[in-house]
Structure formats: structure tokens, C-alpha cells
Amino acid sequence: MNKSENFLIGIFDDEHVLVHAVEKIRQSGVKIKEVYSPFPVHGLDEALGYKRSRLPIAAFLFGLTGTTLGLFTQIWMLGIDWPMVIGGKNFFSIPPFIPVTFEFTVLLSAFGMVGTFFIVSNLKPYRYPRSYDLRSTDDKHVMAIELDDNKIDKSEIAKILKENGATEVNEKSF
């Protein structure tokens, strides 16, 4: 049996209170495991010290792959593998290949990025996430603090949470 993990859960009603609370709580030396929100809260990522997502880079690289693949597929098929005279046009000229190249770029970029997003965020249909509080998808922001991670005493953390606007502080073990 694994040792159970103990969490202190702070519930917040308001996103602005939450963002300030996160800053204050981190300043006081408490490590926050994660914050769960029903909607994206602007400024929360900076308050938690998260870096910007690198997904745009992934999207760009997938897009570039799509452009190259799309263009070279067409050039190879109609220009090299089986050239055909169609309306007396050149075997290969770039302009008529642009629309399909563009579609390939968008397709690979979108699917590549979304696939990467699912993988890095560990989202999959058979994933059963741990629910710290069921209201975190409804109307509450839920802050999870792992007790074993923090040297500060439990009651002390609870006090800090309350001082910074948490409407409820609960304890939960998994």
C-alpha cells in the first residue's frame, strides 16, 4: 500500500481574490500543488509562476512539416512520378499547388498541436482525474496544497489560506 497523500484544500469564490491569494501564499513560503478552476483565470499562471506554454512552437513545427509535405507530395506525384499533360499546363508549377499546400499546413498544424496538448496535459478518455472538490468545475476555485511537501504546520497553512480570502478550508486524503 502506498502511503496516503494528505492535502489541504482552499476554496475560493472570486477569481481576483484567488490570484492575490496565490501570490501572497507563495510569498509566505507555502508550496501550492495546483489550482483547479471552472474557467480560465487571467493572471493565475503568472501568480503560480508557470512559464508560457510552448505549444505555439509545436504548432509552428507541425505546420512547417505540413507545408513541406504538401508541396513535395504534389511536386513528386505530378512532376516526377507520373507527369501528365493537363490542358497543356506545366508538369509542375507552384501556383496551383498552393491551395492544397495551405490546407496541409493547417491540417497538420491543428492536429499536431491538439495531439501534443492532449499528450502533455495527460488528457485521455480513460483518465479518471482526482477530484479535490466537485465544485471546481461548477463555481469554485480549488487550491490544493500537499501537506507532505510543506514544512509549515497544517494549522498555520489553514490560517494563511483563511487570511487570504479562502471561504472554506478542508482536508482531504487519497
Partner: protein, 459 residues
């Protein structure tokens, strides 16, 4: 405390709290289907069955069942195809372009509009697919696969092939865009099901939500994914109807060979798409009692887009005539005179009345904030847009270069049946969506609730 902007009208009325949003939107997913839903569903399924029968006969006997003849080789099929693709433009426009422009009013309407887009594109794709005759071989014909007779490839010089890529990319990218938006909302329904003790429902919606938990780190990535998808979809949505218009514009048929086709088609697509969004949302908001989320203000803004795009379409119609006269090409001139005064004059003037005159009524604030007027005009606009495609396609080819082959086009019951079939697909899919999926993006509406909602009462 909620604050309300004095400059803008509120986007959510009725003093809703965040919990009310989850409650109001999840309600119809959780309840059992109403009698009205069953009635609507049975009508659309009977359309599907009747249309399915017509499609079956047509596949069995070939597309000779359609009313096409030697002169008119494209008629209802391509008209319906372009019409449905056009309708399928509003959803991604709302969710992508309005996202880039930071228009918050898109948030209550984007989900249903995107769903409509996806279903409309499915309907559209069925027409060229059936027009290939042997549907089951279509895969070899349109995708770059080496066929069984040797490595003969598809013709990448042809706009019809660009269309295959444009439509399939548009469909799949719109689908993931829509699904990404649905993920957090499925999690809402899952957690409510856990609370209510519905185990099966919780499991189904958990699988649909990909195990979403709303962690700040995931939201951070999610927002960046949504933004990039919007950035990718914006040129995509413009490219799709541009390419559809090139099916015509790159030919040398008088009336089709026109350089203004791409912007004119895109404007027409947005025009008809918004009209269809209005038709569906006016009913949805009434049936699901979502008047506080889809407000008169939302409807007014959509009507303004209808005036703008309708006017662009009107200018395009007039420019075509001007250029036909100014270009001094007798064939082109005849094609246009024939459109307005020939045997299809009634189609032309229905198009002009429905598309150019009727949206101008929305200059009156009274009419654009009136639900009945909006509903009626939204349907008129869609009829007009159908006629537009019919006029462009049939009137240009029914009198070709050889007067001895001049003829008229008469649809058969199979033309009509296949059109009804796509209505069956569209409405069946939309009703299933409306019953089992949250019709409004809860996460997005919640995120703007604090700044954009109406105050309940003074605290």
C-alpha cells in the same frame, strides 16, 4: 460584487451567478427528452428515411435519376453543396475571427454555431460524393492514393480537387475546435452526475471530457491551443469558400468566369451562415429558456452582420452586371441579360428580393431587435442564398454556346429527395447535439460573467 459596464449592454441578463450558469445549461442534458424533442426528432428522422430511400434508388440506378441533361450538367446537387458549405461558414467565423477580435458576445452562441457548421459541412460533402455515382470508389478518386491501375495520381491543378482538401480540412479542424471547447463543459456535467449519483452518465461524460480536471496548468495550455486554432481557422474559413468559388471562377463559362467570385462567395457564405445560426438559435433559446444568455443584444449584433454581408453581396451582384456591360464580351453580356430577363427571371428576382432588399430592413432598430422579424428574415435570406447559387449555376449553363442545345432544368423527385435527405441529417444531428451536449459554452460564459452580466439588485 458585480460591476456592469455603462458603455456596453450586458451579455448575460437576469443576475445569474456562476452556479446558475452550470445549472441552466446542464439542465436539458440531464433531464429526459421532452415530448417536443421527440416530435422534432421524428420529423427529422422521417426526412432522413425518405431522403435515404431516394439516395438508395439513385445509387442503384445512377445519377441519371437526377434531372440533369446534356446541357445542364450541374444543377441542384452543386447548388445544394455550395448552399450548405456557405451555411457552414458562420460557426468557425464566430468562434475564430470573433475570438481574434476579442468579441465577447460570441461566447453564448459559438457552441451551437460551430455544431451547425460541422453538420452543414457533412450535408454539403454528401452532394459531390453522390455526384461521383459510385460512392464506394470515391475514396480512390479524390485522395492521392495510387489507384489499382498504376500510380496515376489525382490532378492537383484542378479546383475541384482543392475543394476536397479544403472541405475535409475545414471539417476536421472545425471538429477539433468545437470538441476542444466542449471538453471543460463535459467535465461540468460529469461532476454534476457524480454529485447526483448517476454512475453511467459520469463515466460517459468523463470519457467525453478526456478526464478534464481544470488545473491551472492545463487551462494555460488550453487557452494557447484555442488562440492558435483560431489563428489557423481564420485563413482556413476564408480559403474554403474561396476555393469553392474557384470551381466556377477558373472555368470559361460566361457568368462564372469572374474575378470577384472569391470575396463575393465568402461574404455570401457568412451572410447565409448567420441567417441559419439565427433561425436555429431563436428556436433553441425559446425551447431551452436561454433568453438570459442569448439576449436581444446578441441577436441585434448578428443582424448587423447580416446587413453588412448582405450589402456586400448586393454590391457584388451589381458589380457583376457592370463588369459584364463594361467588359464588352457578348457572351458575358448575354449571360447576364438572360439571368435577369430570360426564362429563369423568377429565380433571379427572388434572389435579389431575398438577399439584397430584405436584409436592408434591419436598418430599423425596431426590426432587428424583433424576434419574429428576425426569424422570418433569417429564413428569407436562406431561401435567397439558395436561389443565388441556383441562378449562378443553372442560368449560366442552360443556354450555352450552341442555341440548338438550349434547354431548361427540371428537378426530379430524387433531386428533391436528396435535398430533404441532407435536411434530415442536419436536423437529426442538431437535435441530438441539443439534447446531449451543452448548447452554450459554460466555461467561457462563466469567465465573462463578472464583467458582462447584469446586476441583480443593489447589494
Amino acid at each position: 460584487m458585480q460591476s456592469t459596464s455603462v458603455l456596453r449592454e450586458s451579455l448575460v441578463t437576469g443576475g445569474k451567478t456562476i452556479h446558475d450558469v452550470s445549472q441552466d445549461i446542464s439542465r436539458q442534458v440531464e433531464g429526459s427528452p421532452t415530448r417536443l424533442w421527440w416530435m422534432a426528432m421524428s420529423i427529422s428522422i422521417s426526412l432522413l428515411l425518405y431522403g435515404g430511400y431516394c439516395c438508395w434508388v439513385m445509387l442503384w440506378n445512377g445519377i441519371g435519376e437526377w434531372g440533369l441533361n446534356k446541357t445542364v450538367g450541374w444543377a441542384w446537387d452543386i447548388t445544394n453543396f455550395v448552399w450548405w458549405v456557405g451555411i457552414g461558414h458562420a460557426g468557425t467565423l464566430i468562434s475564430a475571427i470573433l475570438l481574434l477580435f476579442r468579441q465577447r458576445w460570441r461566447m453564448s452562441i459559438n457552441r451551437a454555431a460551430e455544431a451547425m457548421t460541422i453538420f452543414a459541412v457533412i450535408c454539403a460533402a454528401s452532394f459531390p460524393a453522390f455526384h461521383m455515382g459510385r460512392l464506394w470508389l470515391g475514396f480512390y478518386w479524390v485522395f492521392p492514393l495510387p489507384n489499382t491501375f498504376g500510380s496515376l495520381w489525382v490532378n492537383f491543378n484542378s479546383p475541384l480537387l482543392w475543394d476536397v482538401f479544403a472541405i475535409s480540412t475545414y471539417f476536421s479542424v472545425s471538429l477539433i475546435f468545437w470538441y476542444i471547447g466542449l471538453i471543460p463543459d463535459f467535465a461540468v456535467i460529469r461532476d454534476r452526475a457524480v454529485k447526483m449519483g448517476h454512475k453511467t452518465r459520469a463515466q460517459i461524460y468523463n470519457a467525453l471530457s478526456f478526464g478534464w480536471d481544470g488545473a491551472a496548468r492545463t487551462w494555460l495550455r488550453y487557452e494557447s491551443v484555442a488562440l492558435i486554432l483560431a489563428g489557423l481557422s481564420t485563413p482556413l474559413v476564408l480559403s474554403v469558400h474561396t476555393i469553392v468559388s474557384m470551381d466556377f471562377a477558373t472555368s470559361i463559362v460566361p457568368g462564372w468566369h469572374t474575378t470577384i467570385f472569391p470575396p463575393y462567395f465568402v461574404a455570401g457564405a457568412i451572410f447565409s451562415g448567420f441567417a441559419m445560426v439565427l433561425t436555429l438559435l431563436l428556436v433553441t433559446r425559446k425551447v431551452f429558456k436561454l433568453e438570459d444568455y442569448i439576449t436581444i443584444y446578441h441577436i441585434e449584433l448578428m443582424n448587423i452582420i447580416i446587413i453588412i454581408t448582405g450589402s456586400i453581396v448586393g454590391v457584388a451582384y451589381i458589380s457583376e452586371f457592370f463588369i459584364a456591360w463594361y467588359g464588352r464580351v457578348p457572351f458575358e453580356q448575354y449571360a447576364f441579360i438572360n439571368r435577369a430577363t430570360g426564362p429563369y427571371w423568377w429565380a433571379y428576382w427572388s434572389m435579389m428580393t431575398c438577399n439584397v432588399i430584405s436584409p436592408q430592413l434591419f436598418w430599423f432598430k425596431k426590426l432587428r431587435t424583433n424576434l419574429v422579424a428576425t426569424f422570418v428574415i433569417s429564413i428569407i435570406v436562406n431561401i435567397g442564398m439558395w436561389f443565388e447559387r441556383f441562378v449562378i449555376i443553372v442560368t449560366s449553363i442552360h443556354r450555352d454556346y450552341l442555341p440548338s442545345s438550349w434547354t431548361m432544368f427540371h428537378p426530379t423527385m430524387y433531386d428533391i429527395g436528396q435535398y430533404l435527405f441532407t435536411f434530415g441529417i442536419f436536423f437529426t444531428a442538431f437535435f441530438l447535439f441539443a439534447k446531449f451536449f451543452p448548447v452554450i459554452n459554460m466555461a467561457e460564459v462563466k469567465s465573462i460573467l463578472k464583467v458582462c452580466s447584469e446586476k441583480k439588485s443593489a447589494p
